[in-house]
């Protein structure tokens, strides 16, 4: 079973103060921690589970600058067998990302299954998986919360809305975009980390792939970014912990939330 995971390194902004760069088109990433996109981490875990059950190998493919190598090394430490980074520093859109990954896969692999996150936590576009499938001319299922392989097909659960799911049977090879919560991603073991230290991360340049070409241009571009203007918003209760808790307690009492 040849499994490919597409992973992206993203800034972890959950606790960061966001600043926009003077160009107005990007975020200041200084002192912001970078990590594997959460959804891709679930995809990697699903790939490792499939490998453990059916045997095979897992290759992780990323597009990005050398900072992504750290993420790829952790993927190797967790049990991935190969890591490939398509080196790219400039602005990317979903289309170009999918095009770069599809070209590497066509050149180097014959995957049975390709897993990636539904979306990234930075752009949240939810488009690379579907585009990749179309570029490789194989079927695709998105927002997958369960995977079971049956002969040359995968029976997957797709998350719909309001708690509803659907069961879909899809012929392999296929691209599945993995939803968060599908499994419990493992942490890398000390032994894994030590072993991964010396493993090779293959670096591919767009030129190696015969790109750029007319078909490898951005289709969308960021014009500017801004912090959303504050609306009316909440009345912020100020003061020390003691003071603000007391004030909120009185509001709850006034509104008869408790008596």
């Amino acid at each position: 079973m040849e499994i490919i995971v597409c992973a992206k390194q993203v800034p972890d902004l959950t606790e960061a103060d966001i600043k926009i760069n003077p160009d107005g088109k990007s975020i200041n990433l200084e002192s912001i921690p970078l990590d594997i996109n959460e959804f891709d981490n679930y995809a990697l875990e699903e790939a490792l589970l499939i490998k453990e059950k059916y045997s095979g190998k897992v290759a992780v493919v990323a597009v990005g600058s050398e900072t992504s190598d750290e993420m790829l090394r952790i993927c190797l430490a967790k049990g991935a067998d190969e890591a490939v980074r398509i080196t790219y520093k400039d602005e990317l859109d979903g289309y170009l990302t999918a095009k770069l990954i599809a070209t590497v896969i066509k050149n180097k692999y014959k995957p049975d299954i390709i897993l990636t996150g539904v979306q990234s936590t930075d752009c949240s576009s939810a488009q690379v998986g579907g585009m990749l499938a179309e570029l490789l001319d194989i079927p695709h299922a998105s927002i997958v919360t369960h995977v079971e392989l049956k002969n040359n097909t995968a029976e997957v659960h797709r998350e719909l809305e309001g708690g509803l799911k659907e069961i879909v049977n899809i012929t392999l090879p296929a691209v599945l975009t993995i939803q968060s919560g599908i499994n419990e991603p493992r942490y890398a073991s000390m032994i894994g980390i030590r072993r991964a230290k010396d493993k090779e991360i293959k670096i591919v340049t767009p030129e190696d792939l015969g790109l750029p070409s007319d078909e490898s241009k951005l289709k969308t571009c960021i014009e500017n970014m801004f912090i959303p203007p504050k609306g009316r918003g909440a009345e912020i209760i100020t003061g020390s912990v003691e003071e603000s808790a007391t004030k909120l307690c009185m509001i709850l009492k006034d509104k008869r939330v408790f008596t």
Partner: protein, 325 residues
């Protein structure tokens, strides 16, 4: 005359709201560039076409029993053909589980640029510009398209009003496009959400917890607070994913929609998927240490602070007041 095409989304015999929302913004955009609106309905039920007719200049109906359940591959082949024939300047598709399964593939098979999850759209000098959010709503981004005359845009549900009175009586045109069954991607069945113990949709007071709680061991802080208010406990997606709370407590577009009298969001940043599930609560209170968290936009009252410090003190204050009666 150019045309804006909206893909109708329906499920279990009902047209979904996002369709009418797209027809509303679609009409505004069409008026701004002197275009017409058309809506494509792939269904087995002709009656659905009548519901769309007041909202568009044209209803394109392709009837087939294969459309009873959604299949992205069948939709894609019809849409690819239709777009190449009609050349709509803009095709609108909902940013929904169905749309996400379809639109990225369609962008490749038509060669058109795609922008997803858009919350604003406008034409400037006949070029489309859209706005979407990044970093879970902390940043808004204006996006343009390079060298394009036609576009596909996915529209975030509940971002545009459903138009009130619509005066159109769009002509229903029956398409005769052959529909071929695909065997490499098959719908098998639905899995209905499990009905379990607590039904949070019936609770009047909900204390909801998010990623800020970090570990399951910390949940006791929330449980104590919740019991001081006699409330139900719910959670946002990360808390369910980490199995800190069971699936039936999830509030948001992929979980439950709740409208309690009081909703207290603790350590929840307020990603739009969560807000969709709780914005109609009567009173919303948020406690979060990030002053820029989008949850404060929908809340009535907020405390910017560390939940591990604020919530125990708040619980204590409430219990004191209760016992002092």
């Amino acid at each position: 005359m150019s045309e804006i095409l909206v893909l109708a989304e329906h499920s279990k015999g009902e047209i979904r709201d996002v369709t009418f929302e797209m027809l509303g913004i679609g009409r505004k955009l069409a008026d701004s560039i002197g275009a017409k609106t058309a809506v494509l309905l792939l269904a087995n039920d002709e009656a659905l076409a009548n519901k769309l007719s007041p909202y568009a200049d044209t209803v394109l109906l392709n009837k087939d029993e294969l459309f009873k359940d959604f299949n992205s591959e069948i939709y894609q082949s019809i849409l690819t053909k239709l777009i190449s024939e009609r050349k709509p300047v803009l095709t609108l598709i909902g940013h929904t589980p169905a749309g996400i399964d379809l639109a990225p593939n369609l962008a490749i098979s038509t060669g058109l640029p795609l922008a997803t999850d858009c919350v604003q759209l406008k034409f400037e000098n006949s070029k489309l510009k859209i706005m979407r959010q990044m970093y879970t709503g902390k940043i808004n981004t204006n996006i343009g398209f390079t060298d394009a005359q036609e576009y596909i845009v996915m529209v975030r549900p509940a971002s545009f009003q459903i138009p009130g009175q619509m005066d159109k009586s769009g002509e229903i045109i029956k398409l005769d496009m052959p529909v071929e069954k695909v065997d490499y991607k098959k719908f098998i069945d639905y899995i209905e959400p499990k009905i379990t113990g607590v039904d949070i949709t019936k609770s009047e007071i909900i204390v909801a917890v998010g990623r800020g709680i970090k570990e399951k061991e910390n949940l006791s802080i929330i449980e104590k607070f919740s019991s001081s208010l006699n409330s139900a406990i719910a959670g946002s997606r990360p808390v369910i994913d980490k199995q800190i709370l069971p699936l039936d407590r999830q509030v948001g577009s992929s979980g439950k929609t709740v409208k309690p009298k009081v909703y207290i969001a603790i350590g929840i940043s307020g990603a739009f998927q969560h807000v969709m599930g709780m914005k109609d609560s009567e009173l919303i209170i948020a406690i979060n240490k990030d002053a820029n968290a989008p949850i404060f936009e929908v809340a009535n009252y907020g405390i910017v602070g560390d939940l591990f410090k604020v919530v125990p003190v708040l619980t204590q204050k409430i219990n004191e007041l209760k016992s002092s009666k």
